[in-house]
Symmetry: C2
């Protein structure tokens, strides 16, 4: 059903406040979740609210987390999220990174003891308003197998980079380093569709077209899992996706002194120690902003105007689809009936008024 953006944000915020999350943190988290729905990425939107609610109830996420700057220099930050929600610590850290980059041209932050932070692109895009290049990455639950490996010991570890343009929309890459995220298998499974052989492996580590089998194996830790970008073999470049995933984990989980690989979600009922990495680069330290934006426009137009392959209708720039969705869902977002139902149940259970 269609729900007004402000109504949806208000409800999600109320839920978090009811669970003991401070008002400002609840507002940030609601904004990140609804932004995902608005950008046409429902897998990371309010469909996840139940998981957050459960996480807080189980004590895996602390509603009143103490965000602590452990170490700081003019260009770097090491932050602990205090096992709270991933969104508030990520938002606040990226704000600080942007301030530092404005003063010192480059800045990076590693965050540990956090939780799922939503879409990586949200934080990278915060840099756009300040005309900086923004970078955001995070490690995540071990769902992906390394090349030649049978067990899921690495995450889907996404990378986002946001770059301002002039008249064109900004370039916003926001990609999991696996071929697809788990949610994609769930969609195919619900529809009874087979999956391409570069998406996942079975319990023996062999590529499979059966999404249900992969999802069940992952739940029961029977072996197999999602494949890195490039698939199962070096011949198709699978070791590259695997390497990108590990690189993200090193910058997030190792550099922060947090958790990495299978150590995330190590013990049942304990906080997963999700880790993030944020960065910003000041364009004007290199060339004048106006010139940069002109070149970006030119490059984007070259790509978009380039000759189409037979049977194809459009060449996309990264972020373009999401900006179009954002335009479409400016006032109202389209939320799946099942997700609406779950939200109504959450509201009822917590005694939070459901305005839809």
């Amino acid at each position: 059903m269609k729900i007004k953006v402000d109504t949806l944000k208000g409800f999600v915020k109320d839920v978090f406040v009811k669970l003991g999350v401070p008002e400002e943190d609840a507002g940030i988290t609601a904004d990140v979740l609804v932004a995902s729905d608005r950008r046409g990425i429902p897998s990371h939107g309010v469909a996840r609210l139940k998981r957050y609610v459960d996480g807080i109830k189980k004590g895996i996420m602390k509603p009143k987390a103490e965000i602590k700057i452990i170490k700081e220099t003019p260009t770097t930050l090491l932050v602990s999220g205090g096992d709270g929600l991933g969104q508030p610590v990520s938002y606040r850290t990226m704000k600080l990174v942007i301030e530092k980059a404005k003063k010192n041209n480059v800045a990076f932050a590693a965050v540990r003891n956090s939780n799922h932070y939503g879409i990586a692109g949200y934080y990278a895009m915060m840099a756009l308003k300040e005309n900086l290049i923004g970078i955001s990455m995070t490690n995540s639950a071990p769902l992906v197998v390394p090349t030649h490996g049978k067990d899921a010991v690495i995450g889907t570890n996404p990378i986002s980079i946001a770059v301002p343009a002039g008249e064109e929309k900004p370039f916003v890459l926001d990609m999991a380093t696996s071929t697809v995220p788990r949610g994609k298998l769930e969609v195919y499974n619900r529809r009874g569709k087979k999956i391409p052989l570069v998406w996942a492996t079975d319990e023996n580590g062999i590529p499979t077209d059966d999404p249900g089998r992969v999802l069940e194996n992952l739940l029961e830790r029977k072996g197999g899992g999602l494949l890195p970008l490039g698939g199962a073999e070096e011949e198709t470049g699978g070791h590259k996706g695997y390497g990108l995933s590990v690189a993200v984990d090193i910058l997030s989980g190792v550099l922060s002194g947090g958790a990495y690989g299978p150590l995330l979600y190590g013990k049942k009922g304990e906080p997963p120690n999700v880790c993030h990495f944020f960065g910003a680069i000041n364009i004007e330290a290199f060339i004048p902003l106006d010139e940069f934006k002109k070149l970006m426009d030119d490059y984007i137009r070259i790509l978009k105007g380039s000759t189409l392959a037979k049977g194809k209708t459009r060449i996309w720039i990264h972020g373009e689809k999401e900006f179009e969705a954002e335009e479409k869902y400016r006032e109202e977002v389209e939320i799946e009936e099942k997700v609406v139902e779950t939200m109504r149940e959450i509201g009822k259970e917590l005694g939070v008024e459901v305005p839809f």
Copy 2:
């Protein structure tokens, strides 16, 4: 044939000196090229010497290039390579980046008006000796098609990141953002082998298994080209490899105010204006180096010790194969007979003594 490392380096250096390259620059370039052969990447080693020699002769690469720092801050550098060889300007810029990162914890440099710089990993790995994380990327000749596009308008634009470990070998990711580089198609073509359908497209932009056809089309600019990591379709993640390629180009070609996409090698006989991007991050700004190295060792051992998929014999860490090759070729490298022959011809033509 087997050639002593020092003998080979000496010859390559002599060739460049004979062509008017200053002694130090010639030495750096020889070292980068031979390092590639030693690391088991012959496609980027002395097999390329002829192209460099021709480039200098044709005036595409200037032997005595003026390397100029155009703009500098404590954390950033904008450098012009003066249309000289890519290796000396890259080596010198990475040296400066390392110095800056040691002082200010993070530093980045964009380089324009350069040429082919050899293996990306060489410069990222320079940071390892200083216990920093090193980053290196470059744009390159337009050989890759964007997702849904027919024409090769983006480069194989490689990314390298090098991270020190403790007792384990460093993690060194060094990957083209296309599924494979052009050299791989040349190998399959020579052997009369078909290529996987995620490697390249034909003149209509349709995936093909015929490497000869792709190579010919690329030479004659008839359409088609290499595919981004992930293949031709969004379903297999091709838009991610495409996005990574563009991101590298933005950081290298746009941020430096240089050339990008099809503008590289825009006019015949003119310098291609290849652009690079270098970075270094000081680990100790985040956590103590000892702790970081212990965590790296732990992570690497978890990955290497993880259960194998059926039929597989080993899980590799990025850079491991290359370090093993380096060990094997410590004293002598194995150079293809055809490449040796070409080097002998170069020596004869230039009047440089050939010691093999």
